[in-house]
Amino acid sequence: MNWKKVFKSLSFGKLEDNSAEFKELNDLFRKYRSENIETDGDVFDAVLFEKLQKIKAVKAVKREQKRFVPVLAFSIAAALLIVFAVSFYKIDNKKDEMELVSSSEVAKGEPVKITIEFESSENIENVEVHFSLDEGVRFYSENEKIRDLNEYIRTGSFKKGINEIPFVVSLVSEGEWSINTETKFGGFQHNRKIVLKTGQNKTAVYIYKSQKVLNNL
Protein backbone atom coordinates (compact mmCIF):
# COMPACT_ATOMS: atom_id res chain seq x y z
CA MET A 1 0.00 0.00 0.00
CA ASN A 2 1.29 3.46 -0.90
CA TRP A 3 1.18 5.20 2.47
CA LYS A 4 2.63 8.45 1.12
CA LYS A 5 -0.32 8.69 -1.19
CA VAL A 6 -2.76 7.82 1.57
CA PHE A 7 -1.36 10.37 3.99
CA LYS A 8 -1.34 13.02 1.30
CA SER A 9 -4.93 12.33 0.47
CA LEU A 10 -6.09 12.59 4.06
CA SER A 11 -7.26 15.95 5.24
CA PHE A 12 -9.12 17.14 8.29
CA GLY A 13 -12.79 17.65 7.65
CA LYS A 14 -13.56 15.45 4.66
CA LEU A 15 -12.49 12.41 2.74
CA GLU A 16 -10.48 13.45 -0.28
CA ASP A 17 -11.54 12.20 -3.71
CA ASN A 18 -8.03 11.95 -5.14
CA SER A 19 -7.20 8.73 -3.31
CA ALA A 20 -8.77 5.48 -4.50
CA GLU A 21 -8.90 4.10 -0.94
CA PHE A 22 -10.71 7.10 0.43
CA LYS A 23 -12.98 7.49 -2.56
CA GLU A 24 -14.13 3.94 -1.93
CA LEU A 25 -14.66 4.62 1.76
CA ASN A 26 -16.51 7.82 0.95
CA ASP A 27 -18.75 6.02 -1.57
CA LEU A 28 -19.47 3.30 0.93
CA PHE A 29 -20.60 5.81 3.59
CA ARG A 30 -22.66 7.71 1.02
CA LYS A 31 -24.48 4.50 0.02
CA TYR A 32 -24.96 3.57 3.67
CA ARG A 33 -26.43 6.98 4.52
CA SER A 34 -28.82 6.89 1.57
CA GLU A 35 -30.04 3.39 2.47
CA ASN A 36 -30.23 4.00 6.17
CA ILE A 37 -33.92 4.84 6.35
CA GLU A 38 -35.66 4.60 9.69
CA THR A 39 -38.38 1.97 10.06
CA ASP A 40 -41.03 1.43 12.70
CA GLY A 41 -40.58 4.74 14.47
CA ASP A 42 -44.13 4.38 15.81
CA VAL A 43 -43.25 1.08 17.49
CA PHE A 44 -40.16 2.66 19.04
CA ASP A 45 -42.29 5.54 20.38
CA ALA A 46 -44.87 3.14 21.79
CA VAL A 47 -42.25 1.06 23.62
CA LEU A 48 -40.55 4.19 24.99
CA PHE A 49 -43.87 5.56 26.19
CA GLU A 50 -44.66 2.29 27.97
CA LYS A 51 -41.27 2.29 29.67
CA LEU A 52 -41.71 5.91 30.73
CA GLN A 53 -45.06 5.15 32.30
CA LYS A 54 -43.36 2.62 34.52
CA ILE A 55 -40.83 5.25 35.64
CA LYS A 56 -43.65 7.59 36.56
CA ALA A 57 -45.33 4.86 38.60
CA VAL A 58 -42.11 4.32 40.56
CA LYS A 59 -41.85 8.07 41.17
CA ALA A 60 -45.44 8.18 42.41
CA VAL A 61 -44.70 5.44 44.94
CA LYS A 62 -41.67 7.42 46.15
CA ARG A 63 -43.80 10.54 46.62
CA GLU A 64 -46.31 8.51 48.66
CA GLN A 65 -43.48 7.34 50.89
CA LYS A 66 -42.38 10.95 51.50
CA ARG A 67 -45.91 11.94 52.50
CA PHE A 68 -46.01 9.00 54.83
CA VAL A 69 -43.09 10.22 56.99
CA PRO A 70 -44.94 13.02 58.92
CA VAL A 71 -47.80 10.67 59.68
CA LEU A 72 -45.32 8.27 61.24
CA ALA A 73 -43.94 11.05 63.43
CA PHE A 74 -47.43 12.13 64.52
CA SER A 75 -48.31 8.95 66.37
CA ILE A 76 -46.07 5.95 66.97
CA ALA A 77 -48.92 3.58 67.58
CA ALA A 78 -50.87 4.72 64.54
CA ALA A 79 -47.70 4.72 62.49
CA LEU A 80 -46.96 1.11 63.34
CA LEU A 81 -50.37 0.11 62.11
CA ILE A 82 -49.95 2.18 58.98
CA VAL A 83 -46.48 0.74 58.37
CA PHE A 84 -47.91 -2.75 58.47
CA ALA A 85 -50.86 -1.81 56.30
CA VAL A 86 -48.74 0.04 53.74
CA SER A 87 -46.12 -2.70 53.72
CA PHE A 88 -48.68 -5.36 52.94
CA TYR A 89 -50.28 -3.11 50.37
CA LYS A 90 -46.96 -2.48 48.65
CA ILE A 91 -45.92 -6.11 48.68
CA ASP A 92 -49.24 -7.10 47.12
CA ASN A 93 -48.97 -4.31 44.58
CA LYS A 94 -45.49 -5.39 43.63
CA LYS A 95 -46.68 -8.92 43.10
CA ASP A 96 -49.51 -7.80 40.83
CA GLU A 97 -47.43 -5.28 38.93
CA MET A 98 -46.50 -6.61 35.53
CA GLU A 99 -42.95 -6.11 34.35
CA LEU A 100 -42.19 -5.61 30.67
CA VAL A 101 -39.58 -8.28 29.93
CA SER A 102 -39.18 -7.93 26.20
CA SER A 103 -40.52 -6.37 23.07
CA SER A 104 -40.18 -7.17 19.42
CA GLU A 105 -41.92 -6.69 16.12
CA VAL A 106 -42.96 -8.91 13.24
CA ALA A 107 -44.36 -8.32 9.77
CA LYS A 108 -48.03 -7.37 9.91
CA GLY A 109 -50.43 -10.16 8.95
CA GLU A 110 -47.92 -12.91 9.62
CA PRO A 111 -48.45 -15.58 12.30
CA VAL A 112 -46.42 -14.86 15.43
CA LYS A 113 -44.48 -17.57 17.22
CA ILE A 114 -44.25 -16.80 20.91
CA THR A 115 -42.27 -18.72 23.49
CA ILE A 116 -42.92 -18.18 27.17
CA GLU A 117 -40.40 -19.44 29.69
CA PHE A 118 -40.77 -20.70 33.23
CA GLU A 119 -37.92 -21.55 35.55
CA SER A 120 -38.55 -24.40 37.93
CA SER A 121 -36.35 -25.41 40.86
CA GLU A 122 -37.46 -29.04 40.59
CA ASN A 123 -39.15 -31.59 38.32
CA ILE A 124 -42.93 -31.19 38.55
CA GLU A 125 -45.69 -33.33 37.03
CA ASN A 126 -49.08 -32.10 35.84
CA VAL A 127 -48.45 -28.40 35.54
CA GLU A 128 -51.36 -26.51 34.02
CA VAL A 129 -50.90 -23.43 31.90
CA HIS A 130 -54.16 -21.55 31.39
CA PHE A 131 -54.36 -19.46 28.24
CA SER A 132 -57.01 -16.80 27.69
CA LEU A 133 -57.11 -14.90 24.42
CA ASP A 134 -58.78 -11.60 23.54
CA GLU A 135 -61.30 -11.66 20.70
CA GLY A 136 -58.83 -10.20 18.20
CA VAL A 137 -56.21 -12.90 18.59
CA ARG A 138 -56.45 -16.64 17.98
CA PHE A 139 -54.20 -19.69 17.95
CA TYR A 140 -52.73 -20.27 14.50
CA SER A 141 -53.86 -23.71 13.45
CA GLU A 142 -55.36 -25.61 10.53
CA ASN A 143 -57.84 -27.11 12.99
CA GLU A 144 -60.96 -24.95 13.16
CA LYS A 145 -61.75 -26.08 16.71
CA ILE A 146 -58.39 -24.83 17.94
CA ARG A 147 -58.79 -21.57 16.02
CA ASP A 148 -62.13 -20.94 17.77
CA LEU A 149 -60.71 -21.32 21.28
CA ASN A 150 -60.52 -18.30 23.54
CA GLU A 151 -59.54 -20.38 26.57
CA TYR A 152 -57.13 -23.29 26.62
CA ILE A 153 -55.43 -25.34 29.30
CA ARG A 154 -52.14 -27.02 28.48
CA THR A 155 -51.13 -29.75 30.90
CA GLY A 156 -47.63 -31.16 31.05
CA SER A 157 -44.61 -31.65 33.23
CA PHE A 158 -41.84 -29.19 34.06
CA LYS A 159 -38.26 -30.27 34.39
CA LYS A 160 -35.77 -28.60 36.72
CA GLY A 161 -34.45 -25.46 35.01
CA ILE A 162 -35.90 -23.48 32.14
CA ASN A 163 -39.11 -24.77 30.54
CA GLU A 164 -40.15 -23.28 27.24
CA ILE A 165 -43.72 -23.25 25.98
CA PRO A 166 -43.95 -22.19 22.36
CA PHE A 167 -47.21 -21.38 20.59
CA VAL A 168 -48.25 -19.59 17.45
CA VAL A 169 -51.02 -17.02 17.19
CA SER A 170 -52.40 -14.72 14.53
CA LEU A 171 -54.40 -11.53 14.74
CA VAL A 172 -57.91 -11.70 13.31
CA SER A 173 -58.43 -7.95 13.43
CA GLU A 174 -56.34 -4.81 13.80
CA GLY A 175 -55.80 -3.14 17.14
CA GLU A 176 -54.31 -4.09 20.49
CA TRP A 177 -54.99 -7.57 21.80
CA SER A 178 -53.69 -9.63 24.69
CA ILE A 179 -53.02 -13.22 25.58
CA ASN A 180 -52.90 -13.95 29.31
CA THR A 181 -51.41 -17.07 30.80
CA GLU A 182 -51.59 -18.26 34.38
CA THR A 183 -49.49 -21.09 35.82
CA LYS A 184 -49.27 -22.28 39.40
CA PHE A 185 -46.19 -24.10 40.63
CA GLY A 186 -43.44 -23.82 43.22
CA GLY A 187 -45.66 -21.86 45.61
CA PHE A 188 -46.20 -19.04 43.12
CA GLN A 189 -48.74 -18.01 40.57
CA HIS A 190 -46.83 -17.04 37.42
CA ASN A 191 -48.63 -14.70 35.06
CA ARG A 192 -47.65 -13.71 31.55
CA LYS A 193 -49.32 -11.11 29.41
CA ILE A 194 -48.50 -10.91 25.73
CA VAL A 195 -49.71 -7.75 24.02
CA LEU A 196 -49.89 -7.60 20.25
CA LYS A 197 -50.37 -4.15 18.74
CA THR A 198 -50.77 -3.56 15.01
CA GLY A 199 -48.90 -0.65 13.42
CA GLN A 200 -48.66 0.49 9.83
CA ASN A 201 -46.54 -2.38 8.51
CA LYS A 202 -45.56 -4.28 11.63
CA THR A 203 -47.09 -5.84 14.67
CA ALA A 204 -45.42 -4.96 17.95
CA VAL A 205 -45.19 -7.73 20.52
CA TYR A 206 -44.69 -7.01 24.23
CA ILE A 207 -44.25 -9.66 26.90
CA TYR A 208 -44.98 -8.84 30.53
CA LYS A 209 -44.64 -11.06 33.55
CA SER A 210 -45.53 -11.08 37.22
CA GLN A 211 -45.72 -13.56 40.03
CA LYS A 212 -47.37 -13.67 43.39
CA VAL A 213 -47.15 -15.99 46.34
CA LEU A 214 -49.89 -18.58 46.48
CA ASN A 215 -51.80 -18.24 49.73
CA ASN A 216 -52.44 -21.77 50.98
CA LEU A 217 -53.78 -20.71 54.37
Binding site: M1, F22, L28, K31, G41, L48, K51, S104, A107, V205
Partner: protein, 203 residues
Protein backbone atom coordinates in the same frame (compact mmCIF):
# COMPACT_ATOMS: atom_id res chain seq x y z
CA UNK B 1 -50.80 25.36 15.82
CA UNK B 2 -47.72 23.26 16.15
CA UNK B 3 -46.05 23.20 19.51
CA UNK B 4 -42.44 24.33 19.36
CA UNK B 5 -39.42 22.36 20.52
CA UNK B 6 -38.86 24.91 23.27
CA UNK B 7 -42.40 24.41 24.56
CA UNK B 8 -41.95 20.64 24.46
CA UNK B 9 -38.71 21.01 26.44
CA UNK B 10 -40.50 23.10 29.07
CA UNK B 11 -43.33 20.56 29.37
CA UNK B 12 -40.95 17.58 29.40
CA UNK B 13 -38.80 19.17 32.13
CA UNK B 14 -41.98 19.34 34.23
CA UNK B 15 -42.44 15.59 33.82
CA UNK B 16 -44.84 15.49 30.87
CA UNK B 17 -43.98 12.13 29.34
CA UNK B 18 -46.04 12.65 26.17
CA UNK B 19 -44.22 15.93 25.54
CA UNK B 20 -40.92 14.13 26.13
CA UNK B 21 -41.82 11.44 23.57
CA UNK B 22 -42.85 14.12 21.06
CA UNK B 23 -39.60 15.92 21.72
CA UNK B 24 -37.59 12.75 21.20
CA UNK B 25 -39.45 11.95 17.97
CA UNK B 26 -37.88 15.13 16.52
CA UNK B 27 -34.43 13.58 17.03
CA UNK B 28 -35.41 9.91 16.87
CA UNK B 29 -34.31 9.12 13.33
CA UNK B 30 -30.76 10.37 13.87
CA UNK B 31 -30.50 8.86 17.34
CA UNK B 32 -31.61 5.44 16.09
CA UNK B 33 -29.26 5.60 13.12
CA UNK B 34 -26.40 6.42 15.52
CA UNK B 35 -27.44 3.58 17.85
CA UNK B 36 -27.64 1.02 15.05
CA UNK B 37 -24.21 2.02 13.70
CA UNK B 38 -22.65 1.67 17.14
CA UNK B 39 -24.38 -1.70 17.74
CA UNK B 40 -23.11 -3.22 14.49
CA UNK B 41 -26.53 -3.25 12.83
CA UNK B 42 -28.42 -5.00 15.63
CA UNK B 43 -31.63 -2.92 15.64
CA UNK B 44 -33.21 -4.55 18.68
CA UNK B 45 -30.12 -4.12 20.81
CA UNK B 46 -29.68 -0.54 19.58
CA UNK B 47 -33.29 0.33 20.40
CA UNK B 48 -33.02 -1.24 23.86
CA UNK B 49 -29.89 0.72 24.80
CA UNK B 50 -31.24 3.91 23.27
CA UNK B 51 -34.49 3.62 25.22
CA UNK B 52 -32.56 3.00 28.42
CA UNK B 53 -30.58 6.16 27.70
CA UNK B 54 -33.73 8.12 26.90
CA UNK B 55 -35.30 7.07 30.20
CA UNK B 56 -32.19 8.47 31.92
CA UNK B 57 -32.60 11.65 29.88
CA UNK B 58 -36.26 11.90 30.93
CA UNK B 59 -35.30 11.56 34.61
CA UNK B 60 -32.54 14.15 34.15
CA UNK B 61 -34.86 16.58 32.31
CA UNK B 62 -35.75 18.43 35.51
CA UNK B 63 -32.10 19.46 35.81
CA UNK B 64 -31.81 20.56 32.19
CA UNK B 65 -31.14 24.27 31.75
CA UNK B 66 -32.88 25.76 28.73
CA UNK B 67 -29.90 28.07 28.15
CA UNK B 68 -27.77 25.19 26.84
CA UNK B 69 -28.44 23.32 23.57
CA UNK B 70 -30.95 20.52 24.11
CA UNK B 71 -29.56 18.53 21.18
CA UNK B 72 -26.01 18.55 22.59
CA UNK B 73 -27.28 17.76 26.09
CA UNK B 74 -29.36 14.82 24.81
CA UNK B 75 -26.60 13.44 22.60
CA UNK B 76 -24.15 13.55 25.50
CA UNK B 77 -26.44 11.33 27.58
CA UNK B 78 -26.91 8.93 24.68
CA UNK B 79 -23.17 8.88 23.96
CA UNK B 80 -22.34 8.10 27.60
CA UNK B 81 -24.83 5.23 27.70
CA UNK B 82 -23.35 3.68 24.56
CA UNK B 83 -19.78 4.12 25.81
CA UNK B 84 -20.80 2.31 29.01
CA UNK B 85 -22.35 -0.44 26.94
CA UNK B 86 -19.35 -0.86 24.64
CA UNK B 87 -16.93 -0.96 27.57
CA UNK B 88 -18.99 -3.41 29.58
CA UNK B 89 -21.63 -5.09 27.42
CA UNK B 90 -22.15 -8.01 29.77
CA UNK B 91 -23.61 -5.86 32.52
CA UNK B 92 -26.10 -4.31 30.14
CA UNK B 93 -28.13 -6.21 27.62
CA UNK B 94 -27.36 -9.61 26.20
CA UNK B 95 -26.47 -9.71 22.53
CA UNK B 96 -29.45 -10.79 20.53
CA UNK B 97 -29.01 -13.00 17.52
CA UNK B 98 -30.26 -11.72 14.17
CA UNK B 99 -32.97 -14.32 13.84
CA UNK B 100 -34.46 -14.46 17.30
CA UNK B 101 -34.55 -12.18 20.29
CA UNK B 102 -35.35 -12.90 23.92
CA UNK B 103 -39.11 -12.72 23.40
CA UNK B 104 -38.93 -16.04 21.65
CA UNK B 105 -40.68 -14.38 18.74
CA UNK B 106 -39.13 -15.83 15.61
CA UNK B 107 -38.43 -13.29 12.93
CA UNK B 108 -39.07 -14.49 9.43
CA UNK B 109 -36.45 -14.00 6.78
CA UNK B 110 -38.30 -12.88 3.69
CA UNK B 111 -36.91 -13.58 0.28
CA UNK B 112 -34.47 -10.82 -0.61
CA UNK B 113 -34.12 -9.25 -4.01
CA UNK B 114 -30.67 -8.65 -5.48
CA UNK B 115 -30.79 -4.92 -4.74
CA UNK B 116 -31.77 -5.67 -1.13
CA UNK B 117 -28.82 -8.04 -0.85
CA UNK B 118 -26.47 -5.34 -2.14
CA UNK B 119 -27.92 -2.89 0.39
CA UNK B 120 -27.42 -5.46 3.12
CA UNK B 121 -23.81 -5.96 1.99
CA UNK B 122 -23.17 -2.21 2.21
CA UNK B 123 -24.63 -2.09 5.71
CA UNK B 124 -22.67 -5.16 6.76
CA UNK B 125 -19.40 -3.75 5.43
CA UNK B 126 -19.88 -0.38 7.14
CA UNK B 127 -20.82 -2.03 10.43
CA UNK B 128 -17.77 -4.30 10.24
CA UNK B 129 -15.47 -1.33 9.59
CA UNK B 130 -16.96 0.68 12.46
CA UNK B 131 -16.89 -2.31 14.79
CA UNK B 132 -13.17 -2.72 14.18
CA UNK B 133 -12.45 0.73 15.62
CA UNK B 134 -11.69 1.54 19.26
CA UNK B 135 -14.54 3.28 21.14
CA UNK B 136 -13.21 6.84 20.78
CA UNK B 137 -12.63 6.56 17.04
CA UNK B 138 -15.91 4.71 16.57
CA UNK B 139 -17.89 7.55 18.17
CA UNK B 140 -16.07 10.18 16.11
CA UNK B 141 -16.59 8.36 12.79
CA UNK B 142 -20.27 7.67 13.42
CA UNK B 143 -20.98 11.30 14.32
CA UNK B 144 -19.03 12.78 11.40
CA UNK B 145 -19.27 10.23 8.59
CA UNK B 146 -22.64 8.62 9.32
CA UNK B 147 -24.53 11.44 11.01
CA UNK B 148 -22.76 14.13 8.95
CA UNK B 149 -22.59 16.31 12.03
CA UNK B 150 -20.45 19.48 11.97
CA UNK B 151 -17.08 18.95 13.67
CA UNK B 152 -17.78 21.64 16.27
CA UNK B 153 -21.05 20.03 17.36
CA UNK B 154 -19.55 16.52 17.44
CA UNK B 155 -16.65 17.83 19.56
CA UNK B 156 -19.12 19.39 22.02
CA UNK B 157 -21.03 16.10 22.29
CA UNK B 158 -17.87 14.07 22.87
CA UNK B 159 -16.62 16.82 25.22
CA UNK B 160 -13.27 17.12 23.48
CA UNK B 161 -11.42 19.90 21.64
CA UNK B 162 -11.94 20.50 17.94
CA UNK B 163 -8.33 19.42 17.26
CA UNK B 164 -8.84 16.17 19.15
CA UNK B 165 -12.06 15.58 17.22
CA UNK B 166 -10.32 16.02 13.87
CA UNK B 167 -7.50 13.80 14.99
CA UNK B 168 -9.91 11.00 15.94
CA UNK B 169 -11.71 11.19 12.61
CA UNK B 170 -8.36 11.15 10.80
CA UNK B 171 -7.21 8.07 12.70
CA UNK B 172 -10.56 6.35 12.27
CA UNK B 173 -10.60 6.84 8.51
CA UNK B 174 -6.98 5.75 8.23
CA UNK B 175 -7.71 2.56 10.14
CA UNK B 176 -10.78 1.81 8.04
CA UNK B 177 -8.84 2.38 4.79
CA UNK B 178 -6.23 -0.08 6.08
CA UNK B 179 -8.91 -2.67 6.85
CA UNK B 180 -10.48 -2.25 3.41
CA UNK B 181 -7.11 -2.77 1.76
CA UNK B 182 -6.32 -5.78 3.94
CA UNK B 183 -9.64 -7.30 2.92
CA UNK B 184 -8.93 -6.68 -0.75
CA UNK B 185 -5.50 -8.26 -0.46
CA UNK B 186 -7.03 -11.28 1.28
CA UNK B 187 -9.64 -11.60 -1.47
CA UNK B 188 -6.97 -11.39 -4.16
CA UNK B 189 -4.89 -13.99 -2.37
CA UNK B 190 -7.78 -16.42 -1.94
CA UNK B 191 -8.95 -16.01 -5.55
CA UNK B 192 -5.34 -16.63 -6.66
CA UNK B 193 -5.24 -19.81 -4.60
CA UNK B 194 -8.54 -20.94 -6.05
CA UNK B 195 -7.25 -20.46 -9.58
CA UNK B 196 -4.10 -22.41 -8.77
CA UNK B 197 -6.13 -25.19 -7.19
CA UNK B 198 -8.42 -25.21 -10.19
CA UNK B 199 -5.47 -25.78 -12.54
CA UNK B 200 -4.20 -28.58 -10.30
CA UNK B 201 -7.56 -30.27 -10.32
CA UNK B 202 -7.77 -30.23 -14.10
CA UNK B 203 -4.64 -32.20 -14.47
Amino acid sequence: MNITEKELITLASKGDKRAFCDLISLHRSKLRSFAVSICGGNIHLADDILQEALIKAYIAMKNYEIRSSFTTWLWRIIKNEFINYIRDPETKIEMISDSEDNTGVTLRSDECSESEMIREDVKKEVHQLINALPVKLKMAIVLIDIQEMPYEEAARILEISLTAMKSRVFKGRKRMAEIMNEKKEMKQLSSGNLRQNGVKGDR
